[in-house]
């Protein structure tokens, strides 16, 4: 059924420039029909830009895109869809309180008498598709009731409904729990059996090796290698992705001191909609220690962090931060008592993007010396200390007066880490501190976290990156569904066991 090796997509010499940066240069890609082709690369390697060009969302400055032997210049996604390309975005675009079928046909409704929607026809076409490709979704379910994996299948059905035979999936596994990842991979295999082609973006090496038949590696905006899983290894892929030796945190000894910097006992938190996001969480952290918190995203990590910072309050249980009862303290008081905070969403929670770097130095420290003297902001001190951070943390910027928005994510993050380490905090809460940053920044941030610990700070490291957790943590607590389900030591476990624990499996 599958005709052997015909390039369905060919990309040659693609270049895309944004002001100040070249997002893609000299990109070459050949995707064979009926295969799962993975594109891997670090955050910022240019994967998304390439996908956006393939889907017509962004126009390339140079180069050619050929689809099924025909050169294409897409003016918009409509053209790409017409050429048989469909895209499943990382963040789903679904209407929650509409049914699956309504969501799927939205925007390409088959019509009856030119005005009415032909639901009969839509339904039979939908059922054909789900049956043919083995997608387990019910057309009458409400999207709001579906799991994340279910929503993703709706997105896939939506693309297939529009007649796509080439699917682009942008980091499809980032939002899924491991079982759902397996289901997705089964679905993808069914799709290619029916002659479809799948392009799949990821930066997770294991799953790429597991599911794809071809792998293209991107680095710094360009394609650097094209391989098959059989002829490569995770190690080799990783080195191709980063282009140099991987950063390795030197194994450090535990320096755990006697001072409790954080003591959470039986804390539970309920969200505005009544859902219990955290249930009887207990954690302790001593000075000179790094406690990793591992978990698939969305299992209560952000609520845990915000609860420690006093942004949200538990309805039961106790939280002591540096010996004080944090449940009755404002965020200001908690921070000023000696807590450094690196939020997980840096552009939303940690930066005033339109403001200059030195003004961002003030954020979070506006009430403590040297930034504040009484009611006044000490501009000079903020600027002097910003210069110091730029220097010591290798923030690549022409000046401390440029807007934070002008900097790359890695440089923003280095600046944030420098800011939060200023004044030697006794507790550092770091949520996903190296997400989306380049390798150089990652190595630097790891170093600084370890240095903070060696200087006697307690570090709470919330991360989804197993390598990071293993490299830095003295202990690892596993959070699943709002509960701490296991506590391990890096020496006493393996990435596999940890990964299992993160799915809530009791064995760990």
């Amino acid at each position: 059924m599958v005709t052997p090796v015909a390039a369905i997509i060919e990309v040659a010499g693609l270049v895309k420039r944004y002001p100040g940066v070249v997002a893609n240069r000299d990109v070459n890609l050949q995707v064979d029909k009926g295969t799962i082709h993975a594109i891997i690369g670090e955050n910022g390697a240019g994967k998304s830009t390439l996908m956006k060009m393939l889907y017509g969302m962004v126009k390339p400055d140079e180069g050619t895109i050929t689809v099924e032997g025909k050169a294409q210049t897409f003016k918009g996604p409509q053209d790409a869809i017409a050429a048989g390309i469909g895209m499943v975005h990382q963040h789903f675009m679904l209407a929650d309180n509409a049914s699956v079928l309504e969501n799927v046909i939205l925007g390409s409704e088959p019509s009856k008498f030119g005005v009415a929607i032909d639901f009969e026809k839509a339904r039979s076409h939908f059922l054909d598709i789900t049956k043919k490709y083995g997608l387990a979704i019910n057309p009458d379910d409400l999207v709001a009731d579906l799991s994340v994996g279910g929503r993703q299948r709706v997105e896939i059905a939506k693309v297939l409904f529009r007649g796509a035979n080439i699917l682009i999936l942008d980091e499809p596994t980032a939002v899924l729990v491991p079982q759902e990842v397996n289901e997705l991979f089964e679905n993808l295999k069914d799709l290619i059996k029916s002659g479809l082609t799948v392009l799949f973006i990821s930066h997770k090496l294991q799953e790429v090796l597991e599911v794809s038949s071809h792998i293209t590696v991107m680095r710094q905006g360009t394609t650097v290698a094209s391989l098959t899983p059989k002829e490569t290894s995770a190690r080799e892929l990783a080195e191709l992705m980063v282009g140099r030796q991987l950063p390795q945190a030197k194994p450090t000894e535990s320096h755990a001191g006697d001072t409790r910097v954080l003591d959470i006992q039986g804390a539970s938190y309920r969200q505005g909609d009544g859902r219990e996001a955290l249930t009887k969480v207990s954690l302790t952290l001593s000075s000179g220690e790094i406690l990793g918190v591992a978990g698939v995203e969305g299992n209560g990590q952000s609520e845990l962090v915000e609860m420690i910072l006093g942004i949200v309050k538990p309805f039961e249980g106790s939280i002591e931060v540096l010996g004080n009862d944090a449940t009755s303290m404002t965020t200001r008081a908690i921070r000023d008592s000696g807590v450094g905070y690196i939020p997980q969403d840096r552009s939303r929670d940690a930066m005033l993007l339109p403001e200059s770097l030195w003004e961002n130095r003030i954020l979070g420290h506006q009430a403590t010396a040297p930034i504040a003297s009484g009611v006044w902001i000490n501009k000079k001190a903020a600027q002097v200390d910003s210069e110091r951070i730029v220097e010591e943390y290798d923030v690549r910027t022409p000046s401390i007066r440029v807007a934070a928005a002008a900097l790359s994510g890695g440089n923003q993050q280095k600046f944030i880490v420098g800011r939060e380490m200023a004044g030697s905090p006794k507790l550092v809460v770091a949520a996903q501190p190296t997400r989306g940053v380049d390798v150089g920044a990652q190595a630097l941030i790891w170093d600084r976290l370890v240095a903070a610990k060696e200087n006697g700070a307690g570090v709470l490291l919330v991360s989804a990156d197993l390598d990071e957790l293993f490299a830095l943590s003295d202990r690892i607590a596993v959070i699943f569904n709002g509960q701490i389900v296991a506590e391990l030591t890096p020496a006493g476990t393996t990435p596999e066991l940890l990964g299992l624990a993160m799915t809530g499996a009791k064995a760990a």
């Binding site: 003004e359 979070g364 420290h365 506006q366 928005a405």
Partner: protein
């Protein structure tokens, strides 16, 4: 860097004003009038000493409306309730001022205090509704404008707080005793309100508060990013509330100049429409106290000199239209310049480093 910032700051209002002049010229020509002559007419009339004094007096009120709007803008609040806050503020200030006799300075301070307090309290309703129930301050303050206007009309009645001079149709509050009058300055063209200095002090105070203090930083941070402010330890809802109150307090002062220096009572002849003027001036002056000062004078200048057009058979609406175009084009110009500026900075950062390109977040859909 500073020099380029000043350049970017001035480029937008200048291009907006030029654009509106161009458009007005087109319309004037369609009307068969000579645009150059018309502008010359406006210019020479508007700069007659007598008119300059009147413009300055008017500008001192506009200026406060502009500052009031600017404080809101710093928080991304759209205080369209300036009208109601101003009206209630000046009304109660007139009532209280007219009811007591105090030593001169104290009397004036009391009037100012009452105006600011009433304006602030009225705005507090919008602020409270916003942080407690998420009601848009635009909606609530428009409603409150109507309520304020109704309230004042109700109370300004001989049976209640108003009085009617014999043989006059005009109802006003009792006249404030002379201890509550602000001495004026006699200049070549007429009487200049001393109040203009008070306005200037408010402008300077606003700037110090916003740029130099922790409170001002918290205010701006909350305006730029509510979440980032929360994470940084700012009580962001409380900041929103306080900003609204502050904006209302300054709006309450808008009519005080006329009260202290000219009429010495409140009557129905007090003008309305300060909300839209204030917002326009804050936009045009880019929330900067000096920018707003120029904008306020320019506004008063246009309105005053419009009077001469009628005498020459040119419709005065041309001035209203120019004001409208200026506001629209200023919004566009600022947005364009903001983008250009960011691009320039990104290019500077880009050329500063040879590093992995960051995926552009702006294009994310």
């Amino acid at each position: 860097m500073t020099r380029s910032r000043i350049f970017w700051g001035i480029a937008a209002p200048l291009s907006a004003i030029s654009f509106s002049l161009l458009l007005a010229s087109g319309i004037l020509m369609l009307q068969g009038a000579n645009p150059i002559q018309t502008f010359q007419l406006l210019f020479s009339y508007g700069f007659q000493p007598r008119n300059v004094v009147a413009e300055l007096n008017q500008a001192s009120a506009y200026y406060l409306a502009g500052i009031s709007a600017a404080i809101g803008f710093k928080m991304l609040l759209f205080n369209i309730g300036i009208d109601g806050q101003y009206r209630l503020g000046v009304f109660f200030a007139a009532v209280v001022g007219g009811a007591v006799t105090l030593p001169p300075v104290l009397h004036i301070l009391l009037i100012v205090f009452v105006a600011a307090t009433v304006g602030g309290a009225w705005a507090a309703i919008s602020g409270w509704l916003k942080i407690k129930y998420g009601v848009s301050e635009v909606i609530s303050s428009i409603m409150l404008n109507f309520i304020a206007a109704g309230l004042v009309t109700y109370m300004l009645n001989p049976l209640r707080l108003g009085e009617q001079a014999e043989g006059s149709q005009n109802i006003s509050t009792p006249t404030i005793p002379e201890s509550g009058w602000l001495p004026n300055i006699e200049v070549a063209g007429g009487t200049l309100y001393t109040f203009i200095f008070f306005s200037a002090v408010v402008g300077v105070g606003y700037w110090i508060l916003i740029t130099k203090t922790v409170f001002g930083f918290n205010l701006r941070a909350t305006g730029v990013s509510f979440r980032a402010a929360l994470s940084s330890g700012v009580n962001a809802p409380r900041m929103i509330f306080l900003t609204m109150v502050l904006s209302g307090a300054i709006a309450g002062l808008v009519g005080v100049g006329t009260l202290l220096s000219d009429t010495h009572n409140y009557s129905l002849s007090f003008p309305s429409g300060y909300a839209l003027t204030g917002l326009a001036l804050a936009l045009l002056g880019r929330n900067h106290p000096i920018g707003i000062a120029f904008a306020a004078f320019f506004w008063a200048f246009l309105e005053r000199s419009a009077g001469v057009l009628d005498l020459n058979g040119i419709p005065t609406e041309i001035v209203t239209m120019m004001q409208g175009t200026i506001v629209i084009s200023i919004v566009v110009a600022y947005e364009l310049i903001k983008r250009l500026n960011l691009r320039q900075q990104q290019a500077a950062v880009g050329s500063h480093q040879e590093e992995a390109p960051e995926e552009s977040k702006e294009t994310d859909k």
